[in-house]
Symmetry: C2
């Protein structure tokens, strides 16, 4: 774990802090599609992402989902920070988008380090800043774009975090992530295909215009 830490967080944290994280953190390898955080759940530890990607989702009153953004390597979940420090329940769901390696840090330490390490404080504040920006971008996407643009942006983002121009997903899954219906997605995907931006196959989509 120490190697991973140094490689991904060494440029940011001093050795002493890296050492502390190494002592109290637990290294985990999680497969794709695993639910890391559920809405309403209290958070006991915070994930530091080493590799892979996590999908952050919001839920409406009927239990239908909406994707907010993806988190990638070097990030942490600011929502988690928020919940820990406010001692409140999670307002979002977090699901691994790909196979993921992460280091779990207990909440108690997190607070302690805030006073002890300036770099940790910087990291926490920077994470808040990043997540705030991502939320604003999510709002832009939802409020300002029509569904066809939103869909194409979603496909490109998904291709990005999966490091592949072919994404394995069904129309129904896309519809869930974008909080619309399968028929709408199928229709728009077909249009994108006709426009030569994607190639449709069963269970997967190839993005041509990346």
């Amino acid at each position: 774990m120490l190697e991973e830490l140094k490689q991904h967080y060494g440029y940011m944290f001093e050795d002493e802090l890296i050492q502390e994280i190494n002592n109290v953190g637990t290294y985990k390898e999680i497969p794709e599609g695993f639910k890391l955080i559920e809405i309403g759940q209290y958070i006991k530890s915070m994930p530091l992402l080493v590799s892979g990607a996590i999908k952050i989702l919001r839920e409406d009153k009927d239990g239908d989902e909406l994707i907010l953004y993806f988190i990638e390597q070097g990030d942490t979940c600011a929502m988690t920070l928020s919940c820990c420090l406010g001692n409140s329940k999670s307002e979002i769901r977090a699901v691994t988008e790909t196979d993921t390696k992460l280091i779990m840090v207990p909440v108690a330490k997190m607070e302690e380090w805030l006073s002890k390490y300036k770099t940790w404080q910087q990291f926490v504040l920077q994470s808040y800043h990043n997540r705030m920006s991502e939320l604003l971008e999510a709002i832009d996407t939802i409020a300002f774009l029509k569904m066809d643009k939103r869909l194409f942006k979603y496909l490109k983002d998904k291709a990005m975090v999966n490091h592949s121009d072919v994404i394995y997903v069904t129309h129904q899954q896309i519809a869930s992530d974008l909080h619309t219906s399968r028929v709408v997605i199928s229709r728009l995907l077909k249009t994108l295909e006709i426009d030569g931006k994607i190639e449709l196959n069963r269970n997967n989509i190839k993005i041509l215009d990346l």
Copy 2:
């Protein structure tokens, strides 16, 4: 200013910090409709709200607006925090919704206090948490509600921060805040009136079903 500070922030900050804020902060009274922060602008000081309300807006590529939320007494603008600490430009616009009293704190001090005062650190993190929640609520509203519900929520929120069941606003202004067209708003307002939820007058709307 000291009186105002003690009254609104005394329960939260220790005397020493209150004293420091009193020393370096500037007290300001701002009329309704004043632009406090503009998109793309660097922030040099942070507002602590004493009384009144501030409207936070996002802008699309065509320059059209969208309201995110209102900030009230006891709050600060977490976006400002975010910008200061990240040394980045503002991603939002802030306009006084009512006549407003606030205390401006220079950025430099803000960072210094983070290490010096635990309560300040708590305040900053709490502000991030609150703003994150508000952004999530904004997303819920935009993504999950149809325009008629959004409109009614907007009217109620506006009545709330103005402490009045009569709000003085034109259909065009509402349309701008909700990022839609005047005709749509007029149409939906008429429906709300027929349903007995509001009373329409020239330049003002009375909310009956608060």
